[in-house]
């Protein structure tokens, strides 16, 4: 249960880090370490080089810019949890972050680390999918931006070259007072979720759903936006029957099947959680309206 020997590097700038990653063979980026350190200890990962990006300044911030939330990749999950800006502008993110591990792991764990590790059940990845967040990636040729949909290539596989680092994530605000609901099912609080669901909705003046986003985490190989369910919701009255129909569409996800849960069970959870997340989103809309 000790890491295999490696060469340690702690660059103080993004350029230095990218330069190191381009030169070194078999290198791993160490962010908050809440997944990588465990993998090193258990020798699931045996890199020859560890590039620790904790000493790079300016990668930790939460800002509002042009109607969006911009979060630095090295922002600790705890800072997101306690951010008034996040709570005010993106309440579902505030809710979801509390399901990420435990206080001790959120103190160290980073937003960028979680997105790059890309565990299918990661709440932050689900939130990025739900908002189709824009990710900024720095490499030797400068910075590029890509949507989360393009970033999440497959099971724990982000679209990053070996000499690239994620530097920021941008989440567009939903209109003030939008409905939101997040739910997950885990064996114990803070465990990896077997399945999770997040929903965002807005209603038009007639009370019909005019915008909807629904994500299922922990079921597919990456957190999945269920566009067929969103299509069902659009233009309808938000009723239990519509939510049930939309939730059924979540069964189209190609589900993981492993020791923690068979695919059929994950799909059952996806449907149930989707239905409840939508109902919760509607409820939050109504309780907001009453204020």
């Amino acid at each position: 249960m000790k890491a295999a020997p490696f060469q340690y590097h702690d660059p103080t700038s993004i350029d230095e880090a990218i330069d190191l990653l381009g030169k070194l063979e078999n290198a791993k980026v160490l962010a908050g370490g809440q997944s990588l350190m465990a993998m090193l200890n258990m020798r699931y990962a045996q890199p020859d080089h560890v590039v620790d990006i904790n000493r790079i300044a300016d990668l930790s911030y939460i800002r509002e810019a042009n109607g969006a939330l911009v979060i630095g990749a090295m922002t600790r999950q705890r800072d997101l949890e306690f951010s008034d800006l996040v709570r005010r502008t993106c309440p579902i993110l505030h809710e979801a972050i509390q399901h990420v591990g435990h206080r001790q792991t959120r103190n160290r764990g980073t937003v960028g680390g979680s997105l790059c590790h890309l565990d299918p059940s990661a709440e932050l990845a689900a939130m990025a999918a739900l908002h189709n967040a824009t990710l900024t990636v720095a490499g030797p040729k400068g910075s590029r931006e890509l949507a989360f949909k393009e970033f999440a290539l497959g099971f724990m596989t982000p679209a990053l070259e070996v000499d690239e680092i994620l530097t920021a994530i941008r989440i567009e605000f939903w209109p003030k007072g939008h409905g939101y609901g997040f739910l997950e099912f885990a064996r114990r609080h803070g465990d990896f979720a077997v399945a999770s669901a997040g929903a965002l909705i807005t209603l038009d003046a007639k009370g019909l759903i005019d915008r909807a986003s629904l994500v299922i985490g922990g079921v597919g190989s990456v957190p999945t936006r269920v566009e067929s369910a969103e299509q069902i919701l659009l233009g309808t009255q938000p009723t239990q029957a519509v939510f049930e129909e939309a939730a059924r569409a979540c069964k189209s996800i190609e589900a993981l099947d492993d020791i923690h849960a068979p695919a059929s069970y994950r799909l059952h959870l996806a449907e149930t959680l989707a239905r409840r997340a939508l109902a919760k989103a509607l409820l939050s809309l109504r309780s907001d309206g009453e204020q």
């Binding site: 000790k2 060469q7 340690y8 809440q34 200890n41 620790d52 206080r103 103190n107």
Partner: protein, 160 residues
């Protein structure tokens, strides 16, 4: 093997040391500084026994490299009591409410609760249970620990 010189403050004492870069903070505290109060259960961030405070924030010391503690302030279970004769109110409450049996999880429980009660001096029972949800205890069934945390919170509120 790759090693580095670090300067780290542990329980108020400044230490200069040379560490192998692959060594975790937990192993550094236990083997090099001989502060064996920090316990290692799972060594992959699940059990919470190795929790310490890094600049006042809890962290699992098995998921941090010793070299990453360079320039930071660490507080372990050995640094909780105000002096050699007195216990911290949390420690007194753990004793009073049978918050421990074998004691393996205790250092992690105490450090976790110190941060928690600092941020939330008047918690509900449910909040205490969530706060310690990342710390496994196989003896007590948690009831004594929860009672101790609530009682210590009261004592600490009254003393300030």
């Amino acid at each position: 093997m790759d090693s580095r010189d670090i300067v780290v403050t542990v329980n108020g004492i400044r230490h200069e040391a040379t560490v192998k870069t692959r060594v975790t903070l937990a192993d550094f505290l236990r083997h090099q500084l001989e502060l064996t109060g920090t316990h290692l259960g799972c060594e992959h961030g699940v059990c919470g026994a190795c929790t310490v405070l890094v600049d006042g924030r809890t962290a699992r010391s098995c998921l941090m490299l010793a070299v990453q503690a360079h320039g930071h302030e660490i507080r372990t279970v050995e640094g909780i009591a105000p002096n050699a004769k007195e216990l911290h109110p949390l420690q007194t409450a753990f004793q009073k409410h049978h918050g421990l049996q074998c004691g393996f999880c205790t250092p992690g429980m105490l450090t976790t609760l110190i941060e928690f009660l600092h941020d939330n001096p008047d918690p509900t029972e449910a909040e205490v249970r969530i706060a310690i949800s990342g710390n496994l205890c196989r003896c007590t069934g948690y009831q004594g620990i929860v009672d101790a945390a609530l009682d210590a919170a009261k004592t600490m509120r009254n003393s300030t």
